[in-house]
Symmetry: C2
Amino acid sequence: MHYGGIEAGGTKFVCAVGDENGNIIERIQFPTLTPEETIPKVIEFFQKHEIRALGVGSFGPIDINVKSDTYGYITSTPKTAWTNYPFLQALQKELNIPIGFNTDVNVAALGEVTLGAAKGMENCLYITVGTGIGAGAVVQGNLLQGFSHPEMGHILVRRHEEDSYTGKCPYHKDCLEGLAAGPAIEERWGKKGIELENNSKVWEMEAYYIAQALMQYILVLSPEKIILGGGVMKQQQVFPLIRENVASFINGYVELPPLEEYIVPPSLGDNAGITGALILAKQSEQ
Amino acid sequence: MHYGGIEAGGTKFVCAVGDENGNIIERIQFPTLTPEETIPKVIEFFQKHEIRALGVGSFGPIDINVKSDTYGYITSTPKTAWTNYPFLQALQKELNIPIGFNTDVNVAALGEVTLGAAKGMENCLYITVGTGIGAGAVVQGNLLQGFSHPEMGHILVRRHEEDSYTGKCPYHKDCLEGLAAGPAIEERWGKKGIELENNSKVWEMEAYYIAQALMQYILVLSPEKIILGGGVMKQQQVFPLIRENVASFINGYVELPPLEEYIVPPSLGDNAGITGALILAKQSEQ
């Protein structure tokens, strides 16, 4: 009994076939070009395998409202080749199987809550800090969704007192993503995060911003586990700093689990998304 | 077929009996004294009526985790007579019927989503701005809950550039509640909000803080409707200012419904909570 999963990112597509328990049997990946170039490769891969259903975790923004006329579309993305692209429909047309469709980060949260760091829990938050900042969540067992999917990466934060960098977000300038995503780190410090590993000021500031965001998410969603992934979070030295800042901001107002167990990297590593996509595939059959 | 509802506030208790549609048939209210004084009055009222089930919306913090040993308790409230009080258990012992138990604000959200401003929707956010600031939400039809209930009133906000007031929150000083709840308005301006109706600076600042909070809630929860109740929100002149600020903060990043339909007062008025409690009672039978 095989299932298919797609982790559709802005720079690369990962496609995998797995079993009903979310174990990956075969995977391929290729760069995200235009839909005309990329989608046929996706179709070709899955047509070689007998899969019962497919799960898609996509970059966004996307329309995940099943009542909407544009359900399954990638909507207003800055990647113009994909703007208003009927992603789900393109897959359905060729594959003709049940397809679950959600954001890359919601699907990663699903992976981690099913098989990863939040296994056995009903609620978890998954945040990726990389080229952008995005977050997804499982709330009482469901992928978080309102009129649309969360856009938590753009919440407002207070400036670090030593930070004079303007911010990089085209909409909000100095929102969380504008101050703390990879490109902001690079522009502020003149080097990529990976080259700044030993500059403690960089990570102190980064932790200050991320911890503020976590405070807001905790007070709104009360997640049972917070998982921080993405390229910037490969800098493991930032985790203890984030935990210290969260403790200081919350200041005992809500009771939290021990923070070293509460704020953690993904235990599925870079497979959180694609594993979640396989689980979403299975759920889409029901 | 009658149901009972309790809106247990820090200053007063409202008890009501209603029908299966949430219509109130009879209601009483009395001040919140100690449990020994207050709970017998509650029991006496409901024992006079034949009710099938009871719904409770309580001030907090409370334990709403059904797996917890202290489920149904009021926990670390500053009202010391109620600290670690087994509220649900005290009611169950005397009434012996199904009882639903949740926060006052979650229950108000349930009232508004079932019969009020968000009727027919799956997601709504209810915020009360009064002595404190609290918020509850219905997400995909369920009352929002993680390891605990939301504590959204304490999120961090950026200071208004003309605001030099320290903030009143004992935990965070200048969090949202510390800067924008009724007591903060009174301490900053030297008068109660109700006496400041014509001071536009007061409401400009108030709107600035509340709109920031709404931006954060929107980006996390994506509610279909935002309902603002509580004493401070009786100042209707603040609604247009909040909407202007929200539009400016979001800056087109997410598509929202027309803001005059999106950010609104409770259409159940002061009955949102008690109506929600009656609906929770009915749900607790299932």
